[in-house]
Amino acid sequence: MKYALGRLLHNVLFLFSKTSRLSSFVTVMADQVLTFLCRSRTLSRYLGSLILWGMGLLIRVSAMLHPAFKERLKDKNFTAQIKTSDRALSRTYTFEDGRVISRPGIHPKPDVTITYRSSDLVVKLAVPWRDQLEQINAMKNFQLGLEGPDELTMWFMETLSLMLSAGLEYGTAAGKGVKRYTSNTNGGPVFVYVKDGKIIRITPIEFDESDAQPWTIEARGIKFTPPRRTTVSPHTVAWKSMVYSPDRLLYPMKRIDFDPNGERNCQNRGISGYERISWDEATNIVANEIKRVKKDHGPGAILNGSGSHHTWGVLGYWLSCRPRFFNSIGYTPVVHNPDSWEGWFWGAMHHWGHSMRLGAPESYGTVEDCLKHCEMVVFWSSDPEATSGVYGAFEGTVRRQWLKKLGITMVHIDPFYNHTAALLGGKWLPPRPATGNALALAIAYVWITEDLYDKDYVTQRTVGFDKWQDYILGKEDGIPKTPEWQEQEAGIPAKDVRALAREWGTKRTYLAAGGITGFGSACRCATGNEWARSMVCLMAMQGLGKPGVNMGGMQQGTPVDTSFFFPGYAEGGLSGDIEGTAMAVNMYQRMPQLATVNTVYQRVPRLRIPEAILDGSTCGYPTDSKTIEGQFLKFDYPAPGNAPIKMYYKYGGSHFGTMSETNRYVKAYRSDNLEFVVNQSIWFEGEARFADILLPACTSFERWDISEFANCGGYIQHSFNQCNHRVMVMQHKCIEPLGESKSDFQIFLEVAKKLGLGAPFSEGVTELDWCKRLFDATDLPKVISWKAFLKKGYYVVPPPKEELRDPVSFRWYAENRSKDTPELAPLPADYTEQYGKGLQTQSGKLEFVCSSLKRFDPNDPERPTMTKYIPSWEGHHTTELYEKYPLQLISPHPRYSFHTMSDAKDSVINDVKDHRILIDGYYYWIVRINSKDAQARAIRENDLVKVFNDRGAVICAAQVTERVPPGTVHSYESSAHYDPIGEPGHSADRGGCINQLTPSRMMIKQSHSMAANSCLVEIRTWEGEEGIA
């Protein structure tokens, strides 16, 4: 009877908690009625006291119904007081050994006090349906006070909020004690099967009968419809082996010879071992170091940065709780170079704008346009079958197979016979690395001399062509950029260039420059700017935006519903950070939260972290996407009045495998200049092995989150249009965190509590509450209730009717109309004449000669005002170095792992034959070498070889192949494992961090950019030596 009554009460509570459609309706009504009633002070006092009484009752009821909640109540013994400022309302809640006693009246010495300014606020905010904006407004205006130690106040507030989620059901029973949950990853959404608290399998999501039907495109008499399921990347399929990896950090650890109050032994980072410590000890050390460093050195002495990626989830990615925490303590952020965009950001942007997309173009409607009108696709440094675009799993694969079915010609320009070329076939043209710009200029030469370009378009929609034409024809420098001239530089037979140019000049052609347009290994080399710039110029000559003439290789531009709002991770999650994330676009209005602001102006460029630490000074240029000129604002380190870095709080993936000349980073870690290093990491790998304190984070399968398939938002607005279906996913907490690991949110909260920052950090709610708040901020509540979404775990957005599909990118531009694609950028002020007309450039047109560069530095030899051929500063023209190191190494983004995720750490990815090779019990990274080069060095398949130059040496397994030209070698970047044979930073690495070899020189001086694909090396069989040379 008592139980039934309790259940009834709890159901009533749910009715008022906006979890279902009915309850949303009831809630709105209740709020209206109560607001009306509260106009009477007396009534509001009565209602307030009723609510406070009910709260005590509900705690007891929840404990009765939910064992886990009951168990939680045993955590603490203390008394909480809730009252109004005038004490007209007051009630205490005493927690004692799991029992809760609620009494009216004022307590003389409560441990926790929540004070509302008036009783009508109690009625508004102490209820399950409270409006979060009103709650925040009350906090900011001091209408709501919180006193007591963070440990207790947070516990009390979370307990109140847990009452609401305690009974919620999630997941689907799959028989035999197995429950099927949902999650999301960097490589696609998944079903997660769990039995006895353990993950047993992870699969793609197969849609059921009730999910939306997909779109169909009819082209050339054939109907094309994608399959009703999601695809997954290899690294996603391997997740189970990463969750249960023996390299998981399961406990907080301290380096054995690190004593925060004595000898720190910084020089032993990367050498000495670790001992297990408690969370309390670990967070004490970290919190005390934060205080000490701020006290001893002043602002700016704390450095924090992340990898480029994290485990998936809008709330858990690197732009959410991380900046919320660090903004709250004040820190010097590591600013990212536009690592996958480089040449597009620093180069192409000046020709066509698109600063908000870091120089990459819009991609709307291109799948349909390509299928209907295109006759040829040129893949140029484009391997979406290896890189999944980004986050896009194999969604684009089926669409590229449609191209093949339609008999559309395909050409692949890449020094590596890549996986897209291998799958689809078509002509392979392998230029020498970093010479793509020469090939592009020669194509333009053929078009100009054979009259094969769109003259009307060039006249009406572009500026500056005549000047560039003079350069191409050799009128400026006496060198006509003929196919024969190109052959000397890029090595493509002149006849092939002529054939390609004639095909391209007479066929409606799509240019896939990069895996998604605006990426591509060619943009990450010494001449990356000039390559990306020439891609824009070629398309400007062929009428960009006309039917069948556009950018892309079917990786983006599906006809999904872009009008349905759901944020990507770059929109800031719970960061409260309006400056450092894309929160200002939508989320600051949609998801009310406390804003957070970093008070430190100092910044460190990610590629110059070692110099900042070791030399104490460096400089950089910002990846500022607001406007074209944002990238020109040089900054110095240290910033005026700021302290140099003394403490490094590292979070996420390792830089050893992903940045450039990375022995520098190893050396920086071992410097006394860094007084303290803490690393918050899931696995013991890469940089984590160089920390003083290790904080074990859990994976996304062990915490709550919410997200969409392939939606990063921000720098790639509508990036989900890589997918065949828009899929929003509730990332269930599938299993409990392993060992003592915790979610990043929880770790930051634990440290925050020790700094008195608990309440502003978490706003007193749990991670699941944040998911609900994010859900409420999207368009999802219009189509599915929270309860249903939480239970099922995903929602498929129906595609729009054919007549409501997005228009094709650049069609508006080609036809000189106002922009009609669904993109907010550029900002209104960046239109030169009329809002919505033209591009972001000063002329509003495609510019062959760039106005922005003319204004900034017209005489910069490294970045001329129009694109020219500039030989690589590390390549076949750098004679002395080339003689010593005659092999050109390219190191694209890896195929099977995602950055450092899923590599090494005993993941099953290691057993993929083309990822690592097991030799004598050790998994070696692979270097691919042409048979002729191999023969000249007596290297056979699977021989252990040393790949080296003056910067370092990496021991790899050789794969002898025809997939690279003689003189070029290929190895992926992003090894997670760093395993020096001798002294760290000074010896050969068996782990496979190829980026030890790549140059740290910026692509151009006036930038913050990496040129990893301009790298000269030598290779020889390895005899077991430790040294680099």
Binding site: V237, E385, F394, A422, L500, R502, V908, D911, V912
Partner: protein, 278 residues
């Protein structure tokens, strides 16, 4: 009785390894009573993807051939097993009984396809079960097929007669028919892995300018057999599907009715002739 068959299209396999990794996800650390003991995490390849590059830079192609247990109707492992440790189910799937097969290491060598692996820890021979434990629960496909993004893997449940029709209409082949084991795993476009090609680029020079010779007629002659190809925009031609050790071929190239060029090509591997000037 409808039986399971697996169809693998070599042309659609891009070595993404989703099949191999799904198999690991399903079987490592998971025991399925009556079907299988846990797979060894490292070393076992119940899906074994073989790579073959053909030709010489820059005229090459690459093919991948996943090799599974062939679920043979005339399975040598069943014959070699003691105590009926390996058996054929009515639906065509071959299962190694994880209890009865303990200690029977000789089964590893019994399979001519190398599809049986030895599990030292459990002292057990192991192989692909076609995820029979899932199919029996109503799953429509095994894990490898579900995770395949290209359609390279395809599962068919059909009467043997129906399957033979499919084999004919889609010109499917089996791997190593000379083993006579009657596999239930069929391949499409197997020539991409097993056969050779002769390829080249035809080019022409006029007034000191080199150009690709599009539209050249290339004839491949062996004994009385002739095959013809017309060169594409890049002057490229390719004769594929040449059997192993099939000897010497003659290649004749005619361009614009003027030039005739004859080459003798010995084929002991795929041959890229490079640029042929006419």
């Amino acid at each position: 009785m409808k039986k399971w068959n697996l169809i693998i299209d070599i042309e659609k396999c891009e070595d993404c390894n989703n099949c191999f990794l799904s198999c690991k996800d399903e079987h490592v650390d998971n025991a399925f009573q009556g079907y299988s003991a846990p797979q060894v995490k490292h070393g076992h390849r119940w899906v074994n993807i073989m790579r073959k590059e053909r030709g010489q830079f820059p005229q090459i192609d690459v093919a991948y051939m996943p090799v599974f247990c062939m679920h043979c109707d005339n399975a040598p492992c069943i014959k070699a097993a003691k105590d009926g440790a390996v058996y054929k189910r009515d639906d065509g799937i071959v299962i190694i009984d994880p209890v009865k097969a303990q200690g029977q290491k000789h089964l590893v060598d019994a399979c001519p396809y190398g599809a049986i692996w030895w599990n030292e820890e459990h002292s057990l021979p192991q192989k692909c079960t076609l995820c029979a434990h899932l199919l029996d629960q109503g799953w429509k496909e095994p894990r490898c097929v579900q995770a395949c993004p290209t359609g390279a893997l395809h599962i068919v449940r059909a009467e043997d007669g129906e399957m033979q029709e499919i084999v004919k209409s889609e010109t499917l082949e089996i791997l190593h028919p000379e083993y006579h084991t009657k596999p239930r795993v069929f391949y499409k476009n197997l020539y991409r892995y097993t056969h050779y090609f002769i390829a080249g680029s035809v080019a022409v020079e006029k007034d000191g300018i080199s150009d690709c010779a599009q539209g050249a007629v290339v004839t491949l002659i062996k004994d009385s057999e002739k095959r013809q190809a017309i060169t594409d925009t890049f002057g490229d031609f390719k004769f594929d599907g040449l059997p192993e050790n099939s000897g010497t071929y003659r290649v004749e190239i005619t361009y614009e009715d003027r030039t005739m060029k004859t080459l003798e090509v010995g084929v002991d591997k795929s041959v890229s002739l490079g640029t042929v000037w006419v």
